[in-house]
């Protein structure tokens, strides 16, 4: 099971039902394949950066779900066939989420270590000793 993000654009003159229908379509495929829908975000009508099928703006919908890879092909096929959806983008985000989680943990650990004086103390004099040794050798 992988986590994906589907961002798609519905044509701006679509009714509320048509938008819900598009989301419902995705939900059907995902649940049918044994996945789950995690989040549905409706951004509303936005201006498009360029013209798509002669539309200047579009209704953006973001759906986050976890599903097996085959489900994505089916979702994309359905969106491609759909008249109401003019553009879509599927992004796999589980790796990204993992990476972010790891980074966050690292940062927390570092923050927790910092106030404790034990950690930097043994490191600092050692470096000085090495420097002093090197200097002594150089002068000899």
């Amino acid at each position: 099971m992988r986590i994906y993000e589907e961002l798609f654009i519905v044509r701006p003159n679509a009714t509320e039902e048509e938008i819900d229908q598009a989301v419902e379509q995705i939900r059907q495929v995902v649940t049918g394949a044994g996945g789950t829908i995690d989040k549905v975000e409706k951004w509303g009508v936005r201006k498009l950066a360029y013209r798509v099928r002669k539309y200047e703006d579009g209704y953006y919908v973001l759906v986050q779900f976890s599903a097996p890879p085959d489900a994505v092909t089916e979702i994309e096929r359905r969106l491609r066939v759909s008249d109401t959806v003019i553009k879509y983008l599927t992004v796999r985000i589980d790796r990204k989420l993992k990476r972010l989680e790891k980074k966050r943990r690292e940062r927390e650990q570092r923050a927790a270590r910092k106030p404790a004086p034990a950690a930097p103390a043994p490191g600092a004099p050692a470096a000085e000793e090495v420097m002093a040794k090197a200097e002594a050798e150089a002068s000899e």
Binding site: L7, L48, A49, G58, K87, K96, R104
Partner: protein, 99 residues
């Protein structure tokens, strides 16, 4: 004068009396060291949905600003360009903007 422009200049970089001849003959630049914004602000995630952030790294024409201009480090530039291309694909950012 360098001070008048308000750019921070290290004492060692300031032209001294003996340097005057050099300053007069050769134009001096005080270039500030560029830093990667993503490293400094600790932005872990460069998301394609963050149009406001991404558009800061686009030229007027909608082109991706090169690293040598923006100062972004190479790992971040890679992520950044990836995100910009995704955003272009879903019409959040232009492929080519009208001027």
């Amino acid at each position: 004068m360098a001070e008048a422009k308000g750019k921070p200049v290290a004492p060692s970089q300031k032209p001294t009396g003996t340097d005057k001849a050099i300053v007069a003959t050769r134009k001096q630049y005080f270039r500030r060291k560029k830093v990667c914004r993503f490293c400094v602000e600790r932005i872990d995630d460069i998301d394609y949905k963050d149009v406001k952030l991404l558009s800061a790294f686009l030229s007027e024409r909608g082109k991706i600003v090169p690293r040598r201009v923006s100062g972004v480090c190479s790992p971040h530039q890679r992520r950044l360009s990836e995100a910009i291309k995704q955003a272009r694909n879903i019409a959040l950012l232009p492929f080519a903007a009208a001027v």
